[in-house]
């Protein structure tokens, strides 16, 4: 046998695909798959809502709180007064299945959230921003509107779906997912959900005070500030354009014949 020296064959063991092409294909394909999965899960959340009655939800989440909530002292004056105000407003929704609870999140960013089981979270930043009880009442009424329309569960469901998605993608432990304030803050409601919640909030405020004067004054002040770069950006990013909202609310007040003048109640603290 004759030994014939040959160069090893080049490249049979190496795919010809350029690594960037491989990366692009994988990223695009997997993104597509995950988007489809996420959308189907979101659709499932919608279906699940029909099977979870508000009573069940209230029972499940009776004493529940997000893990990362930085609460204020239980004897805080603002907490007490906000709870009283919320109770008064909730009285205008007599068949509400929830016992509404207020918690104050010790954050400078003005925001309010509706969480399962009738938990309303307002931030310290929001309480510092409101100038009258009517303003605060509208914010609380707006959150009541989210409960009424069950937006809070819908959004939470979506949020959990997205958190799971990110946990899988980044390789984190899926079991470690809890509902956190930080997550909820980043979840936005749709324009339609906000408008319906605004309408409910205005109706509640109107029933309580007999007018909707100053209800959206807070938003007007924010708009006047012309999206000042501090803090509020977070709020704007999760809520529809403030100018549009104010216009919508004016329109709603006009439509329902709610008075836009009347005595403004000062804050209780």
């Amino acid at each position: 046998m004759r030994f014939v020296a040959r160069q090893p064959q080049e490249g049979v063991n190496v795919s010809k695909t350029h690594p960037l092409v491989e990366a692009g294909t994988l990223v695009a394909g997997l993104t597509l798959i995950f988007v489809v999965i996420a959308l189907s899960l979101i659709y499932l959340v919608e279906i699940a809502l029909y099977f979870i009655s508000p009573e069940d939800e209230a029972g499940l989440f009776r004493n529940w709180m997000p893990e990362d909530l930085v609460t204020v002292a239980p004897d805080d004056e603002k907490l007490y007064q906000t709870q009283l105000l919320l109770d008064r407003l909730a009285a205008h929704w007599p068949d509400a299945p929830y016992t509404f609870r207020v918690e104050i999140d010790d954050s400078e960013v003005a925001n309010a959230m509706a969480l399962p089981g009738g938990l309303v979270i307002v931030t310290q930043g929001l309480l510092d921003e409101v100038k009258s009880e009517n303003e605060l009442a509208f914010v609380l009424g707006h959150e009541l509107g989210h409960f009424k329309n069950r937006d809070h569960l819908r959004t939470l469901g979506r949020g959990i779906v997205l958190s799971m998605f990110f946990a899988v993608v980044t390789g984190n432990d899926v079991g470690g997912i809890g509902i956190k304030v930080a997550d909820v803050t980043l979840r936005s409601f749709s324009r339609r959900q906000e408008t319906r919640a605004d309408e409910f909030g205005l109706a509640v405020v109107n029933s309580e005070y007999g007018h909707v004067n100053e209800a959206w004054r807070l938003f007007e002040r924010w708009e006047d500030k012309d999206r000042s770069p501090t803090g509020l950006i977070t709020y704007f990013s999760t809520h529809p354009d403030t100018g549009d909202r104010i216009a919508d609310m004016r329109h709603q007040a006009e439509m329902h014949g709610w008075r836009t003048d009347g005595d403004v109640t000062p804050l209780a603290w």
Binding site: F3, P19, L20, A23, T234
Partner: protein, 167 residues
């Protein structure tokens, strides 16, 4: 303040990994090209030096001495390859980014072995075998892989009279 922190967060969580990914890709592919170039050059130089996998010597070989020779290389993944392979791991299939890496490792190991044999004055290597083993990552309780060792070994032989009896 809050927005600055958020932007910083965003950068650390998304921007930084992408930046590292890009740097890893450019450095990694540059080094890979360089390595393949060197492999090809050295393979060309070793042309005519028999490296074969027969487990018994051809009858014609008249050998005066023999010795075991080894060539070994430990090769590691770059971050880019690791991430792409991770994505591939979700759906399965050919992990294409690993293929050039292992090709390099095999050829480099065989080259080192053959070069060692030639340097020591041997004329051929037969019964060449390849072995791989994982080098565990010390940081993650040995769960991760720090690299792969590719070991080539064989029996180097010195011909009594160089190719005297070939053919």
């Amino acid at each position: 303040m809050d927005t600055n922190i958020e932007q910083l967060n965003l950068f650390v969580n998304i921007g930084l990994p992408i930046l590292i990914l890009m740097i890893a890709y450019f450095i990694g592919s540059h080094m890979e090209k360089k390595h393949f170039r060197s492999i090809r050059e050295r393979e060309a130089k070793l042309q005519g030096f028999p490296v074969v996998s027969f487990d018994t010597m051809p009858d014609e070989w008249r050998v005066s001495s023999s010795h075991m020779v080894t060539g070994s290389i430990v090769i590691s993944l770059d971050y880019f390859k690791r991430v792409i392979a991770g994505l591939r791991g979700l759906i399965g299939g050919r992990v294409k980014t690993y293929e050039p890496l292992l090709d390099r490792a095999r050829r480099e190991a065989v080259l080192r072995m053959a070069e060692a044999a030639r340097k020591q004055g041997y004329d051929a290597v037969f019964n060449v075998r390849l072995e791989t083993s994982r080098i565990a990552n010390a940081r993650r309780d040995g769960k991760g892989v720090a690299g792969v060792e590719m070991l080539a070994f064989g029996t180097a032989v010195k011909f009594a009279s160089r190719f005297a009896n070939s053919g």
